[in-house]
Symmetry: C2
Subunit: 309 residues, 2 copies
C-alpha cells in the first residue's frame, strides 16, 4: 500500500523561476490522481520522472488559468503517446467545453475517452470510489466556483494472527469474516475476533484547499484529515488583500487546519511578491504545531509523514 503527494507547482497566479503554477500528483494505493494542471504541468511530470499515462483521475479546482491552462497540453501529449485508457476529469461546469474546443481545433480526435464529471457546488460529493480509495469534492469560497478535494483510503481489513487461527482450528472460509472484524460462530462456540486479528493501520487522508477564503463552510469536508494542503497566498501583512481577492493568509490556513482537527498542514500557493515563505511558516506555527511550506518537487510519503514535520 502507498500514499504519496508530489508537489509539481506551489506558486500562485504568476509563475516564477522557483514556483510553477498549481499542480499535484497523488498516488493513493496505486490510484493515480492529478489535482489541478497549471501551464507546464506535463513538463513538471517529466522533470520528476512521473509516468503521465498512469494518471486515471484529474481533479480541477476552478477555472483560473494557473489551475488548468496546462490541461490541453497534457491531454494532447497523452494522445500523441498513444493512450487508450479512459481518463476521468472532475471539475466545474464549463471545463469540458473549453478543453474540447482547444483539442478539436487541432483537427484530430483523441485516441482515448475522457469522461468529464461536473462537480455540484451545493453538496459534498463523492466523485470516485472503489475498493481502496474515495475521492470527495466540496465547495470552497473563491471569486468563481471553486472546489476542494479529499482523497481517503478505505478502512483496511484486519490482520490475521495465523498462529492463533491454526491453534483454534479455524478454516480458510473464516478469513473473510475475521478480516472484516466479525466473530466466528461454530458448533455453538463463539470465537472472538479480537483473539484472532490485529487492527489494520488507520486509513490516511489528504485534502486540497486552493484557492479559497478561510470560511467555516468547508470545515466538515476536511475534518480529521491526516494532511491538509491549504493555500496561504499571503502573510498577515497583506490580510486586507487576502480578503478582497478571496484568498487566505498563512495564519488563516493554520486556523482552518486547527478547527478541522487536521494533523499536518502543508502551505502553498504563495504569492510571487514574497522572496521566501519563512514568514508564512512563522505565522502558521503560532496556531498549528505541524506546518510545512510546499516547494516544487516536494514528495511526501504519507505512511512516513511524521518525518517531514
Amino acid at each position: 500500500m502507498s500514499f504519496s503527494v508530489h508537489i509539481l507547482g506551489s506558486g500562485a497566479a504568476l509563475p516564477t523561476g522557483r514556483r510553477q503554477p498549481t499542480s499535484q500528483y497523488i498516488n493513493c494505493n496505486e490510484r493515480h490522481i492529478l489535482i489541478d494542471c497549471g501551464e507546464g504541468t506535463q513538463q513538471q511530470l517529466r522533470n520528476y520522472g512521473i509516468k503521465l499515462q498512469r494518471i486515471a483521475h484529474i481533479c480541477i479546482s476552478h477555472l483560473h488559468g494557473d489551475h488548468f491552462f496546462g490541461l490541453p497540453g497534457l491531454l494532447s501529449t497523452m494522445h500523441l503517446l498513444g493512450r487508450d485508457k479512459k481518463l476521468s476529469i472532475y471539475g466545474p461546469a464549463g471545463l469540458e467545453n473549453l478543453i474540447r474546443a482547444f483539442l478539436e481545433a487541432g483537427g484530430h480526435p483523441l485516441t482515448f475517452d475522457i469522461q468529464f464529471q461536473v462537480v455540484d457546488p451545493s453538496v459534498q460529493t463523492c466523485v470516485f470510489e472503489d475498493n481502496l480509495i474515495r475521492i470527495e469534492a466540496f465547495a470552497l469560497k473563491h471569486r468563481i466556483p471553486t472546489f476542494g478535494y479529499r482523497i481517503l483510503e478505505k478502512e483496511k481489513p484486519r490482520h490475521l494472527i495465523q498462529e492463533a487461527i491454526q491453534e483454534a482450528g479455524l478454516l480458510i472460509e473464516d478469513y473473510h469474516k475475521l478480516k472484516a472484524g466479525l466473530d466466528i460462530e461454530r458448533d455453538g462456540r463463539i470465537y472472538k475476533n479480537a483473539d484472532f486479528t490485529l487492527a489494520a493501520k488507520k486509513p490516511l487522508s489528504y485534502a486540497f484547499c486552493s484557492d479559497t477564503k478561510a470560511v467555516e463552510s468547508y470545515l466538515p469536508a476536511i475534518s480529521g484529515t491526516t494532511l491538509l494542503y491549504h493555500e496561504a497566498t499571503f502573510t498577515e501583512q497583506h490580510k486586507e488583500r487576502a480578503k478582497v481577492t478571496f484568498h487566505s493568509t498563512a495564519a488563516q490556513a493554520a486556523q482552518q487546519a486547527q478547527n478541522a482537527n487536521c494533523t499536518y498542514l502543508l502551505l502553498g500557493h504563495f504569492s510571487s511578491r514574497y522572496a521566501d515563505e519563512t514568514q508564512h511558516v512563522i505565522e502558521a506555527k503560532a496556531i498549528h504545531n505541524k506546518v510545512l511550506a510546499a516547494t516544487d518537487g516536494l514528495l511526501i510519503d504519507l505512511e512516513k509523514i511524521a518525518r517531514y514535520f
Copy 2:
C-alpha cells in the same frame, strides 16, 4: 538598429527535456514580435530574461497545440503584471474565440486590448507595417490551415558623405532627397546622388515556415530571405512519415531554401524520436551550404549572421 531571433522552443509536438514546443522572439529594429506560443513560452521568456511586456505582435502559425497552447497563460501574465499597451495577434480563423473563452472563464476582463487579425489563407498578406519593418503572412501546406511569416526591414536611407556635401555647398533641405537616393538640381546644375551618399546596408529579412510540407506554392513568399527557419521534423529515413503528416525532412527544407535563394537556413521542429540533430544537418548540408540546427535558447544576431554558420 537591431535584428535578432531568439529560439524559445525548437521541438515538435512532444516536448522533451531539451526542446520546448515552438516559440520564437524577434526583435526587429525595436519592434518586438513573438512567433508561435507553445505551452511554457512565458516561462521560456523568463528563463532567457526577455521582457514580455515589450511584445507588441504575436504571430500564430496554426491551431495545433504545440504552437499556441501557451497563449492564454502568456496573456494572463501580461494582464496580472498590469499591461495597458495594446497587443496585436495574427493567426487563423477561430483563434480569437478559443483564447477569449479561456480567458473569460477566469471571470475578469483583461487590463489591455487585444486586436486579433484573421490571416487570409488565399493571398500573401502584409499584417503589419510601419516606417521600419513589415510583417507578411503566407499560406503553408499542413493538415489544417497554417501560415508562415516573414519579417523584413524596410530599405534604409542612404548615408550622407558630409565632407562632399559641405564642399559642394549643398543645403540641409537637400538631405532628405539625398537620403532617398535622388539627385539635386540647383541653378541648372545637377549634383549626382552617388557623389554625396553611400548605399545603406541591404535590408535583412527573416522567414518562419512551420509546420509544412515542402511545396512550391510558398517559395515566392520567402524568396531571397536572409535567414529562413524551416521545419525539419524528420530525416530522410522517415520521408514517408513526413509525407503522410504534411511535414518536411531536413533535405526538403534545404531544397526549399535553395530554390528560394535564402542565404542562411535554420532547421527546427525536430521530432522527439531523434536523440540529436546531426543527421538532419548532414542531409541538409548536402543541398544548402549554410545550415544550422536550432536549439532552445539560440540567439542569432542577423547583423552578424555569418558568425553562426
